[in-house]
């Protein structure tokens, strides 16, 4: 009616309608389902019926998309650092300092392709590293695991190998107790919400804030379901140093342990269960191993210290009486535990993260995990959707042709036959150690490989025998300063003479893009074609759509032409490869639009909707199963009942069952192991990851006395509420207007840090004052939000500022962009792992601009 054309797109925060007029985006809105869309499911519980509203709910970052497309920070043409001469003086030490000049695409592509060739010629395989971040703009074709991986494989590259940052404590810890390596040590989703709604009598959110994180990618889908539990009056507990958004909305009991002390709290609860006979003895006897040893540890028979509620009180700050009350309530009621939803949680990304996640699994084992009402996940996951309908997730490899480093081999490759690709360079650099690899020339890492429980124990080294060291970096995106531990290390790495060439392919001029020699401007997903399923990650998060109320497959229209001279990532890769004679191998003659059609054809969509209709409407809703009998069976029920596994997930592998196929778990005994055999075999004497999960205080907590004397505040750096990590932060986007995200002071939008009013008063800090947060690793200027949502002694900031802006002061460098990861430790959570640990000690003071003025 108003002359706009309605397109559809998909984001990390849900799908959107995009209304365009005269080639300009007018508005973006959530999608309301219409009468033609499939019906919604209904759950019957406690004498009532529950049906979700017919909308695809979205997160704040999704609704800020338009402002990001039109951001002044968009890279609109290729650029070169002014003092970079590919044939002469490169001025490597000026990376991050010097300005840029516009160059033509021809010049940019010539430089990049010539440097790639030179690397091979001069140094041999491995000289070029490709480094991407974890979260791409949505879509199966454009995703880094798709087009970028295909590009990399056709060239050969040193892989910058990520650590399992989302799941650290689960992968390096919890997994050894129960298996599930293909889910990185976290549990599966099936039937959970239904089980919770029908049976749960207590909800324990532990390090869990789904109102903020939406699980991942799931808009606000869980919110309505959580409100059902509030309306039903199911008792609710939140265990978090922060009075988080979920606790604020749902109410209930807030228990606030000091950061990274949770394992002590968990052990005291288990102690009470043992003391008062409040655990499932039959389950423990028949479904677990090693309990006696664990019980003896709890009771103190083993080390002379009983892990009583009184024992944990000075460590966690939680009153013993509260712990006892919680233990009794939990021990007598069917309980859904939500550790970061199920298998995430900032507590798993702290120094004690492995211990904590391990405790979560042991607690479930003591409470009959899998029996009705006893499960992990609450209302966030496990809606009754049809999981038999096939559509590939983003981790299923897209167009990459890569069978080893994606889940392509599972279905995608056979469903959409395409030219296979493989990277002949076996050399890798662990992402968290990239700076050391460049600056020191060597480093060691531990594998993240979901195939087995054991792969993680084999260390790997950089450089790898036979390959060249890295002399060129192909950086895709630019989030490191915001998201990597002690990220200030990257400055030195970028300025190291051995790194002869850095190209950055980014949408925005932010973060690390400013450390490149040549910048290639990519367009946003609204300016190119793609296709994808909402919240369909695939791979390690198999059936993660189970967080949604409706399964939605979305055509991601090219809504507008690319702005300026920006191009799709796909086209940039194609242009480079064309200069190397590899254009046809890469594209198979297809445009990104043609690839979308191939993905469509490979899925179950053509059975339901024509390509033309799909293009026109923009999305398809998969009907839910027609009857309750067809719902996926509740996760772990089979295990509790001693039956063959009936969860529709492709793991464990057939060889990984201890005895009979389908019976039991992936662990050596096939049971939940209180003292895991895999740890006993591989690190029996480890002091940081002992097989017996004893409490080891944080190496940067209140017990590190001399550090505390200088840096008395414990900083929790959790995920950002309104942005998706760095994505959608800063860049003059709409989120700058959200007062809990950034606050303008003298015109500059500062990152927000949450400080208890008492701590603030003692330091003379008032609401929205600028503050300097610092420790030995760095200093960041933020704006203070005085809020008792954190206890005295604790401050909360979010990781993942997209902005980094170092200012030289008389007392060293200060970042005013808000990258709190400049302050976190790069020490591994536990020796023998690659896990990051993000809570740290800091001090805060009012930002004294005059006192710091450059001399």
């Amino acid at each position: 009616a108003d002359g706009t054309t309605r397109f559809t797109t998909n984001t990390n925060g849900g799908p959107l309608f995009v209304f365009v007029k005269d080639g300009r985006i007018v508005r973006t809105t959530p999608i309301d389902l219409d009468a033609d869309d499939a019906p919604s499911w209904t759950l019957r519980a406690r004498g009532r019926s529950f049906t979700p509203r017919r909308q695809a709910t979205v997160s704040a970052h999704a609704l800020s998309l338009k402002s990001l497309v039109y951001s002044e920070r968009r890279l609109l043409y290729p650029m070169k650092r002014v003092d970079f001469d590919v044939n002469g003086e490169r001025n490597i030490a000026n990376r991050g300092i010097s300005d840029y000049v516009r160059i033509s695409w021809d010049e940019a592509l010539d430089i990049v392709s010539a440097e790639i060739k030179r690397m091979k010629r001069q140094y041999g395989p491995g000289a070029m590293a490709i480094y991407q971040s974890s979260h791409h703009s949505w879509g199966n074709v454009g995703y880094y695991l798709s087009a970028m991986l295909r590009f990399g494989n056709l060239l050969g590259f040193t892989r910058v190998h990520p650590n399992p940052d989302s799941w650290e404590g689960w992968y390096w810890g919890a997994m050894h107790h129960f298996g599930n390596s293909l889910r990185v040590g976290s549990p599966g989703p099936y039937g959970i919400a239904e089980d919770c709604l029908k049976h749960a009598e207590l909800l324990v959110y532990w390090s869990s804030d789904p109102e903020k994180t939406s699980g991942a990618y799931a808009g606000s889908e869980g919110t309505e379901r959580r409100l059902w539990t509030r309306d039903l009056g199911i008792p609710t507990v939140h265990i978090d140093p922060v009075f988080n958004a979920t606790a604020q909305l749902l109410g209930g009991k807030w228990i606030a342990p000091r950061p990274a002390t949770d394992p002590a709290l968990a052990q005291a609860i288990m102690y009470v269960w043992v003391q008062e006979d409040l655990y499932d003895k039959e389950y423990v006897r028949t479904r677990t191993t090693g309990f006696d040893e664990w019980r003896d540890y709890l009771l103190g028979t083993e080390d002379g210290i009983a892990k009583t509620p009184e024992w944990q009180e000075p460590e966690t700050g939680v009153p013993a009486a509260t712990v006892r009350a919680l233990a009794r309530l939990w021990g007598t009621r069917k309980t859904h535990l939500m550790p970061g939803g199920a298998g995430l949680g900032g507590a798993g990304r702290n120094a004690t993260g492995g211990q904590w996640a391990r405790c979560m699994i042991m607690m479930m084992a003591m409470q009959g995990w899998g029996k009705p009402g006893s499960n992990l996940g609450g209302m966030q996951i496990g809606t009754p959707l049809d999981f038999s309908f096939y559509f590939p997730g983003y981790a299923d490899g897209g167009i990459s042709g890569e069978l080893n480093w994606t889940a392509s081999a599972l279905y995608n490759y056979t469903r959409m036959p395409h030219v296979l690709t493989a990277n002949p360079v076996k050399q890798m650099i662990p992402r968290q150690r990239f700076p050391e690899a460049i600056v020191n020339g060597h480093c060691e890492g531990h594998l993240w490989d979901g195939m087995t429980l054991e792969a993680q124990f084999a260390p790997y080294s950089y450089p790898m025998a036979g390959y060249s060291k890295v002399h060129m970096l192909y950086r895709y995106g630019g989030s490191s300063f915001g998201t990597i531990a002690r990220s200030g290390r990257f400055v030195e790495a970028y300025r190291h003479p051995s790194l002869e060439f850095v190209v950055n392919q980014s949408i925005w001029f932010e973060g690390e893009a400013k450390f490149a020699d040549v910048i290639l401007p990519a367009c946003t997903s609204l300016e190119r074609w793609d296709i994808g399923e909402w919240a369909g990650a695939g791979g390690y998060a198999h059936d993660s759509q189970a967080q949604l109320n409706h399964r939605m497959l979305v055509m991601q229209h090219k809504c507008i032409e690319p702005l300026g001279e920006s191009k799709s990532d796909y086209q940039i890769f194609l242009d480079i490869l064309s200069r190397m004679g590899l254009g046809a191998v890469f594209s198979e003659g297809c445009s990104d639009f043609d690839w979308c059609k191939r993905v469509f054809d490979s899925s179950d969509l053509p059975k339901k909707i024509s390509w033309k209709k799909f293009l026109e409407k923009g999305y398809y809703v998969v009907p839910p199963p027609e009857s309750e009998a067809l719902h996926a069976p509740t996760y772990f029920r089979w295990y509790a009942e001693g039956r063959k596994k009936d969860a529709p997930e492709p793991s464990p592998l057939p060889s990984q069952y201890a005895e009979e196929f389908g019976m039991g778990l992936q662990t050596q005994s096939g049971k939940i192991e209180f003292v895991p055999e895999s740890l006993k075999r591989n690190c029996p004497d480890s002091e940081e990851r002992p097989p017996l999960n004893r409490y080891i205080p944080s190496w940067e907590g209140l017990q590190t006395k001399e550090l505390v004397a200088r840096f008395p505040l414990q900083m929790v750096s959790s995920h950002s509420r309104y942005s998706f990590h760095t994505h959608h932060d800063g860049k003059d986007g709409f989120l700058n207007a959200v007062a809990e995200h950034r606050v303008r002071v003298n015109g500059y939008p500062y990152w927000v840090i949450n400080l208890n009013p008492e701590d603030a008063r003692r330091r003379g800090i008032s609401q929205h004052d600028l503050v300097r947060i610092y420790n030995d690793r760095g200093a960041v200027i933020c704006v203070a939000d005085l809020l008792p949502a954190v206890r005295p002694g604790v401050i909360k900031g979010y990781e993942s500022s997209a902005e980094v802006e170092f200012i030289q002061t008389s007392k060293g460098m200060v970042d005013r962009g808000g990258c709190l990861n400049l302050l976190t430790s790069d020490r591994r959570m536990m020796k023998g792992t690659e896990a990051m640990a993000t809570s740290c000690l800091v001090e805060v003071e009012r930002w004294d601009e005059a006192g710091f003025a450059a001399a």
Binding site: T29, L63, S220, P309, D732, A737, A789
Partner: protein, 288 residues
Amino acid sequence: MEKWNLVVDVAQCNNCANCTLASLDEHVGNDFPGYAAAQSKDAKPLIDIRRNVRGTDEHMDISYMPTMCNHCDRPRCAEGADGAVVKRADGIVLIDPYKAKGRRDLVGKCPHGAIQWNEEQQLPQIWIFDAHLLDAGWQEPRCQQACPTGAFRALKVSDEHMQALVREEKLEVSRADLGTAPRVYYKNLQRMNRRFIAGSVVTMNGGTQDCLPGCTVTLLLNGAQVARTLTDWFGDFKIDGLPDQSLSYTLVLEHAEHASVQMTVQTDTGGTSIDIVALIPAAIQAAA
């Protein structure tokens, strides 16, 4: 005559900011002639979410109240505006983007603080209820469409119907005392404008303490009972909905097996927590 009203449920709001962002998405860079001129990129949002923190400890709560132009029936902004402010027959208030050019004075006229000054356009601006969309057939404003919790309900009903709803659902308006007769109503506003008293009760159990559930908590004001409740599993209680003023109450804690405790509690702030109370078991009391 059916007119527009907006009902906002404070207890449903999770502070996701979608309403604020939807309003920016709609108006930044978009001109809707006759309705509103484009907002500038760095504009203050026309839907502003107010935060209310009550209490400072584990009993605290934090609530959010989306605020915007109230589309008042006695719009103070229209006084002396020389026709720049239009009150439509359907209840919606618009600031005419043509006639209001340069009228910075209008910003100060709104006692609710709902008018933003657009420096680029030299225009005072309000949230226009998305009248341009409603006129084009939309059934709801964008904030409602984007809200994942159903916190908003835009209703086009007669004033009589609306008043019946106000009584039925105990709706309130923001700052009724200003007398502007808002058409934006709030549900569960007590989380923004009432006070609470909360506490935790424990019992001595040998050498250790235990939370005491089922303890009767009675609150009295000048000798008259104001509220009565029981402590929960954690020995916690919370008495909400108290008037927004500093009053001196008497709090009585009673439990069959314990000696009672009585104390005076002053409500100086939105949320008052008493220190943890340890009730002495009657048996011990008797022995002493």
